[in-house]
Symmetry: C2
Subunit: 315 residues, 2 copies
């Protein structure tokens, strides 16, 4: 059978809904379906919903489905296909034997991994990391996620919990540093996540934080010249640049890829962050430490999950 | 030939002198020689001195020498055996083709790697990291060095410059944060290296910094109950604990090994650092993030260099 007649199903397990899609070996999404949780997004209910979505996609596909990949927040035992620990954005899945449950229902091979790992894997397979042997992929949004590729493979750590870049302590000294979702202080996520950007902007403006203030509205205001917004964008670039300088000094990667909603801000964030990085990562004759925008956009997790299925076929 | 009849030569290239030793396959040092640089420790002069030391050790050995390993500060092209970049503690070696020069003189296989990488490799081979698949080894002394073991191998990065843990930015905000040897601010090394500990103690005491104030005298004073010294030790443990929490969140290692002169302080430093780590690394059902003292002591680099020779034989 020709390789191109194969299709994988990629699934992104989100806080409020599931997204599943048929993906071809070139990383093109052929058909996508979304379903919201009716009950709290706990494991058994979510698994049922997932089975339903996969069956609908199977009906829709004219080519052979080679497997299902699932991008899941939190810590996931990749080898056993079990959710090990809940994430703040997805409670109630801990202990779910997602691979086993899904495989027995849909009779297809199932692979499951952490969503930030898979965003990185998607970039490696089809995106901005194709030529990079070692890189970090940061996803900047409601949280700050990280995926680590080392020697062309996902690095998962000793307990499937590597890559929590959002919980680097980059500001260990300042009093009143905001508390992070992990319970600690001084974490990158508590300083540059979308809610942190909105919070700091409202505080600087002396206005009440409301749903109409988002990271996007702050970046838009900065582009229009609002001085408070510009100050927050500078601050975000400063923290981001320092964190990436640390990552470059630690990992000596080929590149650092940045995705997620906040990365849509573009040059207004990337340019000052790159200047910070140039000044703060250790100089070396062979490298120019570069940040690179992610290519896969909001489908990164889902595409990475499909890429995992395809890469597993090659083993 | 029985394995135990083989001996490796390990060399540690220091800022003021060279140390070389015969090491057996159990990691025991059988004979050690040291030589100080007569001229500035530049590459050609240092290489001559190294050849002289190796020849003396060859005369002294009754068993077969299987190769020479060299631990070198700075960035080293492990595959080509070339010093890529000087380190602040060792200037004038950049571009030295150490492997080629030494192999042609002593007619033995030569391997060369960064000294912090090799301290980690020594701990993996004969020390505290034997059972760990993934770990970080920090060497706390005049500088703060780091070696990274991933999947039981040294992780060197894309340009042979990984593991510069001393240049993590852990304090990005405080005004007047001391400048680091790398030119940046807020680096771990600028906050917890031996000179930083002496500097901060003298400042807190309001006394002039002199050669009689060292990290060791500060830890000794803290053990005797000196309140300023205790405060500096607490501060050191705080920064160290936060940095290691970040490393645990990033790498999810089995353990973090701590060696170097400052690690000799023992529980007075390790206990409060461990408490910071317990509170600031992300909780996970399968792990208890632990710091572990290094086992190889001041011979870590030299033993790691010998371990590199033995591990290369097994390939």
């Amino acid at each position: 059978m020709a390789k191109n007649s194969l299709t994988a199903i990629g699934i992104d397990l989100g806080g409020s809904h599931l997204t599943a899609a048929l993906v071809n070996p070139n990383g093109q999404i052929k058909h996508k379906k979304t379903a919201s949780y009716l009950k709290a997004p706990n494991g058994p209910h979510g698994t049922q919903l997932m089975v339903k979505l996969v069956r609908e996609l199977l009906h829709h596909s004219s080519s052979e489905i080679c497997g299902v990949g699932i991008a899941c927040p939190g810590s996931v035992d990749f080898n056993k296909g079990i959710v090990l620990a809940d994430s703040p954005n997805l409670i109630g899945w801990k202990g779910t034997r997602l691979r086993q449950d899904l495989e027995s229902s849909v009779k297809l091979p199932v692979l499951i991994d952490n969503d930030a790992n898979l965003a990185a894997w998607g970039e490696k397979y089809w995106g901005a990391g194709k030529k990079a042997e070692n890189f970090i992929c940061l996803t900047l949004g409601t949280g700050v996620g990280g995926g680590i590729i080392i020697n062309n493979q996902i690095y998962r750590g000793s307990h499937y919990y590597a890559g929590e870049i959002g919980h680097m302590k980059i500001n260990t000294f300042i009093e009143g540093s905001p508390k992070c979702s992990c319970g600690s202080y001084g974490c990158l996520e508590a300083l540059i996540s979308a809610p942190a950007i909105a919070r700091d902007f409202a505080r600087l403006k002396g206005i009440r934080l409301s749903h109409s203030i988002t990271a996007k509205t702050v970046f838009d205001a900065a582009k229009r010249g609002d001085s408070a917004a510009r100050q927050i964008v500078q601050q975000t670039a400063y923290y981001l640049g320092n964190a990436i300088s640390s990552l470059i000094n630690i990992f000596d990667p080929d590149i650092v890829i940045i995705g997620g909603g906040i990365a849509k801000a573009g040059p207004i964030l990337f340019n000052p962050a790159q200047r910070i990085i140039n000044n703060n990562s250790m100089p070396h004759p062979l490298r120019k430490p570069a940040i690179v925008p992610a290519k896969l956009g909001e489908n990164a997790g889902l595409l990475g999950a499909a890429a995992l299925v395809f890469s597993d076929l090659k083993k």
